[in-house]
């Protein structure tokens, strides 16, 4: 299976402007690895992630980064993703 990396952190439009000098966390989702279990969505204390329907996938949905500006790099999503599909930089 070809590995496609989706850099959602930059693609999703930032609503709040981050303070100068503070870099926005980059959240990388390896879409091919995501099995849509939603654990990351529940684990995130800041509602950064959301499930998005994707009929092309056998599981029917894939995780999407919707509020990257709220991310505090707590890493809970990365730690609890059983499928090695999320990386927070």
């Amino acid at each position: 299976m070809a590995e496609t990396r989706v850099q959602e952190g930059k693609a999703a439009g930032a609503v709040e402007q981050p303070s100068p000098g503070k870099s926005l966390p980059r959240i990388e989702v390896i879409a091919d690895f995501c099995k849509g279990c939603e654990i990351c969505v529940v684990m995130c204390p800041r509602n950064v992630l959301e499930m998005r329907a994707d009929p092309s996938r056998w599981v029917g949905s894939v995780v999407a980064v919707v509020r990257p500006e709220a991310c505090t790099r707590c890493m809970l999503c990365e730690v609890h993703c059983p499928d090695f599909a999320i990386k927070v930089f």
Partner: protein, 277 residues
């Protein structure tokens, strides 16, 4: 900063075969972070497993790996550790593999106090073979071989390990991945037999039969049923009914098996020299 799991994975075999939401991936990640913290070279680590969902782990890991027969992972690992005491041997097992089919090997590995770290992923059921009840299926919970609920009381793997003589025993959950990493790290550091039980979810085989068909529901169930060891000491026994105690449950010091064995060899060699010399 993101952790580089790719360093330890056989990426050509990914994505792995575990079901959506299965907690084994969370345990494997905690194990990889703990190994990274130990600073061990990949060539010095051996990961051994038996049969089952959890035992598929070594197939995805880039260490010295050994996939053995059902329940016999600890027997193979004991041989490996005795032959090469310089290597760090980690056994990853499921509840059926460690507590049922390999129950005897488990007891004797604990008794010997050999320097092996055993990680038991307890998902309450035999996942791979079709959801049969395992020794850890809680009383009254349903499985494919217990459609009206299990009548056997569940086995407490940690208490059995303590009774059998393991010198580091801890229990974590997949709902608290960072704590689990800490227990595995302390288990790796510990000289002697360490047992880390990771309470995990199986939404497909266990959850589906027990009104928790999603991984999120099962992880919340695990989080709600874990009681930290410090709090458990203050609670009356009836409040702990149906719950499990998490944390570092037992830490002790005892002579380690490979060292004792080496001493025995030296003693025997000296005696032989004395007899012939």
């Amino acid at each position: 900063m993101a952790f580089d799991y790719e360093k330890y994975l056989r990426m050509e075999r990914m994505p792995h075969m575990w079901c959506p939401g299965c907690g084994i991936g969370i345990v494997v990640k905690a194990m990889l972070r703990a190994i990274e913290k130990m600073g061990w070279s990949q060539d010095d680590v051996a990961v051994v497993s038996g049969i089952g969902c959890t035992s598929r782990t070594p197939g995805y890991l880039d260490f010295n790996t050994l996939h053995t027969t059902h329940g016999r992972a600890l027997a193979f690992a004991t041989g490996l550790k005795l032959a090469r005491p310089d290597k760090h041997v980690i056994v990853i097992s499921g509840d059926g593999d460690a507590a049922a089919i390999g129950g005897n090997h488990f007891l004797h590995a604990c008794r010997r106090n050999i320097d092996i770290t055993l990680i038991v992923v307890n998902n309450y059921i035999y996942g791979m073979t079709g959801g049969q009840a395992s020794p850890t299926t809680p009383f009254g919970m349903r499985a494919s071989t217990a459609p009206y609920g299990a009548v056997d009381p569940a086995m407490d793997i940690c208490q059995v390990a303590i009774a059998a003589g393991a010198t580091y025993v801890a229990r974590g959950t997949v709902a608290q991945g960072l704590l689990l990493e800490r227990y595995i790290l302390n288990g790796l550091k510990h000289k002697g037999f360490s047992v880390i039980e990771a309470m995990s979810d199986c939404p497909v085989q266990y959850g589906r039969r027990n009104r928790m068909s999603s991984a999120v529901e099962m992880i919340q169930w695990i989080r709600d049923h874990g009681v930290p060891v410090t709090r458990a000491k203050e609670l009356p026994p009836e409040e702990l009914e149906g719950k499990f105690v998490t944390g570092e449950l037992h830490v002790a010091e005892r002579p380690e098996y490979t060292e004792e064995y080496r001493r025995l060899i030296e003693k025997a060699q000296k005696a032989a020299e004395g007899a012939h010399g």
